[in-house]
């Protein structure tokens, strides 16, 4: 689970309170999706149960906010393993899109329109990211570039499929 590992990683530099963890996470990774407090506490409860963190101290007052978490040796090992493990390469295949194309062809509708619409939508997002990149710092640029390269790959698939749509139609109706 990425959030758990990420929070553990943030704890490696020293113990923190839950709200402090959330803030650190959002600042670095939560650009589009800041964490909910609920997520943080649920995650910390799980890490605690698994012995990956421990409660180092509790401030006076009420609520889970008061706990100060520290990473355990098991937690550090867990982070190490997570970092060493390669991410599964996602097929990024637009399977929903492929389904639509096939259904369109089978029902005598325009598959080309579906591809064109998707193309425009992809390019719209790519423009947005390109603009964000222009105003952003280096981390922001790298995050945008990652998304842009993936969208570009989708676009190539869209082009290729568009170029082969007649052939696909023939094979489907044979």
């Amino acid at each position: 689970m990425t959030i758990g590992h990420t929070l553990l990683g943030l704890l490696e530099s020293g113990p923190r309170h839950g709200y402090d963890l959330k803030r650190a996470f959002d600042e670095r990774f939560g650009h589009d999706r800041p964490l909910h407090y609920g997520q943080v506490y649920a995650t910390m409860a799980r890490l605690l149960k698994n012995g990956l963190v421990e409660v180092e101290g509790i401030e006076a007052g009420e609520g889970p906010d008061r706990k100060r978490y520290a990473i355990t040796d098991a937690g550090v090992t867990d982070v190490e393993q997570w970092l060493a493990q390669p991410e599964r390469p996602e097929p990024y295949l637009q399977s929903a899109l492929y389904t639509k194309v096939v259904v369109a062809l089978l029902t005598g509708r325009s598959a080309q329109d579906i591809l064109d619409t998707q193309r425009s939508e992809h390019l719209r997002l790519m423009r947005e990211l390109t603009r964000r990149k222009a105003g952003g710092d280096l981390p922001d640029q790298l995050i945008c570039d990652h998304a842009l390269f993936h969208l570009e790959a989708d676009m190539r698939w869209l082009e290729l499929t568009a170029a082969r749509i007649d052939q696909l139609a023939e094979e489907l109706t044979r």
Binding site: D116, S120, E121, R124, M126, A134, L151, E152, E159, A163
Partner: protein
């Protein structure tokens, strides 16, 4: 997805003072090379200050469209209007004069004069427009600076890298402050980092000077620098159905 009219100015474009009336408009363009139809009824419009990407498969007619729009190639049928005047009706001399005064060009390569230094290359269109040498070279130096290639000013095109040469070419295209920049695969010969930087500099400079850009490219990441795109297929241009 919300359906929108293809001609609606984008919020982004509108922010830059993109005009409503088309600056350059083509309708029903036909052009053949022998038996090969390159354009078969292409339409196109661009407003002042707008950046439009022209995309489409190889051989679909993108470059031919750009050449017709710029008055370099005459179509067999159809019209091209620039600021309301019909380009095809102008004499060759008037068309060349218009190209020099109002249009700028950036191609994939081979556009710089090999015998001149980079500075002289950028100054050349200014000199041709009647600017005196000193002033032309001062302005050329500013543009080289802006494109981050001030250090190659005294070198000849054969002595600089592809990426540097392309920035010099962009400086040369923009220095006379054209109303329209025609760019045909401007990043085609560059790696992605250099291509990106060239696009950033080209679009930023175009925005600053209010120039419209007709950007022919097959790379979507390059097209993403535009305000909208048209796709050319089999010699016909279709405007994207979504306001971008």
């Amino acid at each position: 997805m919300t359906p929108t009219t293809p001609t609606a100015p984008t919020a982004h474009a509108a922010n830059r003072g993109v005009t409503d009336a088309p600056l350059l408009a083509a309708a029903g363009l036909h052009k053949s090379y022998g038996a090969t139809p390159a354009l078969a009824g292409a339409d196109f419009e661009i407003r002042g200050g707008e950046i439009v990407a022209v995309m489409g498969p190889s051989g679909s007619g993108k470059s031919t469209l750009l050449h017709c729009l710029a008055g370099i190639v005459s179509p067999e049928a159809g019209t091209v209007h620039y600021q309301g005047q019909e380009l095809t009706a102008l004499s060759d001399a008037r068309r060349s004069a218009l190209r020099r005064s109002d249009f700028g060009f950036v191609f994939q390569f081979g556009q710089l004069v090999p015998e001149l230094t980079c500075l002289e290359n950028v100054a050349l269109p200014l000199r041709l427009a009647g600017t005196r040498r000193r002033e032309a070279e001062a302005r050329a130096a500013e543009w080289l600076q802006r494109l981050e290639v001030a250090d190659v000013a005294a070198k000849r095109p054969g002595e600089v890298s592809g990426g540097q040469g392309q920035r010099v070419a962009i400086a040369r295209a923009l220095a006379p402050r054209p109303r329209v920049v025609f760019a045909d695969e401007p990043t085609g010969a560059l790696d992605s980092l250099n291509g990106e930087r060239a696009m950033q500099l080209l679009t930023a400079a175009a925005r600053d000077t209010g120039a419209a850009v007709v950007l022919v490219t097959h790379e979507v990441r390059v097209a993403a620098y535009s305000d909208r795109e048209v796709v050319v297929r089999d010699g016909r241009a279709t405007t994207s159905a979504v306001a971008l």
